[in-house]
Assembly symmetry: C2
Homo-oligomer: 211 residues x 2
């Protein structure tokens, strides 16, 4: 088997595939799948188009490899959510980790958002399988906390959705966030502000304790 599709990869193949995937992440996350061209990716990767197509036969193969590699990283924070330790501390930690991912891996977040927005044509099976299983499992953990009176009784699934939504917002809607905050408050400090705000929201809500 002389083709790169084979399982045995040479040193050069491993290196170049990495370079290509990184370039493709940059391009795909900024323009979406259809909006990106092989030429753009090849440019960003510093190689010619035929050369790139030697490592990935089709444009879609790059996208697929990217999504595959992304998913593990992306679900890691939720996997860590466990019922050892104080529930509120666990949740706070999860929110913090997700927010850090939005800050440190915005391209990954946008790639994922793009895919879901288009109707998840390539990862629906994964959403209904692996992801659903994981979420159901963690929802059960959260329900345990509610039974023990450690957190208020509410809907565990929507709780998880709200954590996803609020944290990923800072990656996916970054342009809007920065535009609205303006030059002063829109700098790097926005993530710490967001962290403080979200912690307060999720723990105490907005209603004053002293009525």
């Amino acid at each position: 088997m002389t083709s790169p599709a084979g399982l045995k990869r040479t040193r050069i193949q491993q290196e170049k595939r990495e370079v290509i995937l990184d370039a493709a992440l940059e391009v795909f996350s900024a323009h979406g799948f259809r909006g990106s061209t092989i030429d753009q990716i090849a440019d960003a990767a510093g190689m010619s188009k035929p050369n790139l197509l030697y490592y990935f036969r089709r444009k879609e193969d790059i996208h697929e490899a990217l999504l595959k590699r992304l998913l593990d990283t992306w679900l890691a924070p939720l996997r860590e959510l466990d019922n050892v330790g104080d529930p509120l501390t666990e949740l706070r930690g999860y929110i913090r980790r997700k927010l850090e991912m939005a800050r440190d891996f915005p391209r990954e977040s946008r790639l994922f958002a793009n895919e879901i927005l288009q109707g998840a044509p390539r990862i629906t099976p994964m959403l209904e399988g692996e992801l659903k299983t994981l979420v159901d499992e963690k929802a059960e953990v959260i329900r345990g906390w509610m039974r023990d009176g450690k957190i208020v009784r509410t809907d565990p699934w929507h709780l998880i959705f709200s954590i996803w939504a609020t944290t990923q917002h800072y990656a996916d809607f970054d342009v809007q966030v920065r535009a609205v905050l303006g030059p002063n408050r829109g700098g790097e400090g926005r993530f710490e502000d967001a962290a403080r705000y979200l912690e307060q929201l999720f723990l105490d809500g907005l209603k004053p304790r002293t009525t």
Copy 2:
């Protein structure tokens, strides 16, 4: 002036432009700008491509008209947020209205999300101008409520972001939400579940009141 670009529109022009915009909303919101073709839109509008191009000279003109028409509708709920009435009731109403929009106008939400995800190439001026002004104004209203002790002291801007994020999530990430909830809980009732959950989250948070 015989062209449709002129300000005086015939009956047919008004009707057909509406048909086209509706078809374009369907297509653009599902595939993004680059991912959509004029042929697709023409098909969805039930007319030939040259005929469509008689009403909108360029693909981008359709997109622009769509965004323009969208923005007023989109910001209406925030405009309604006023400091007459009880602050908590006002906020609850805003959240409910935004969630209803996610339910009733998911295509509009996705069109907007697509635009922001791509870096808002066509509406950055609006974000930095009109939108920022409106948000700053409402943030001041919210700050007033905080001074009066009606709601807890926190960051008004991030508060608004969190409402946007949590509600629009149900339109933009709908595929994922339904996949995770599964066939039973993922039906139409998901919006009422979300409404109940979000109300609880924003008002009381997750920490039990009785420590």
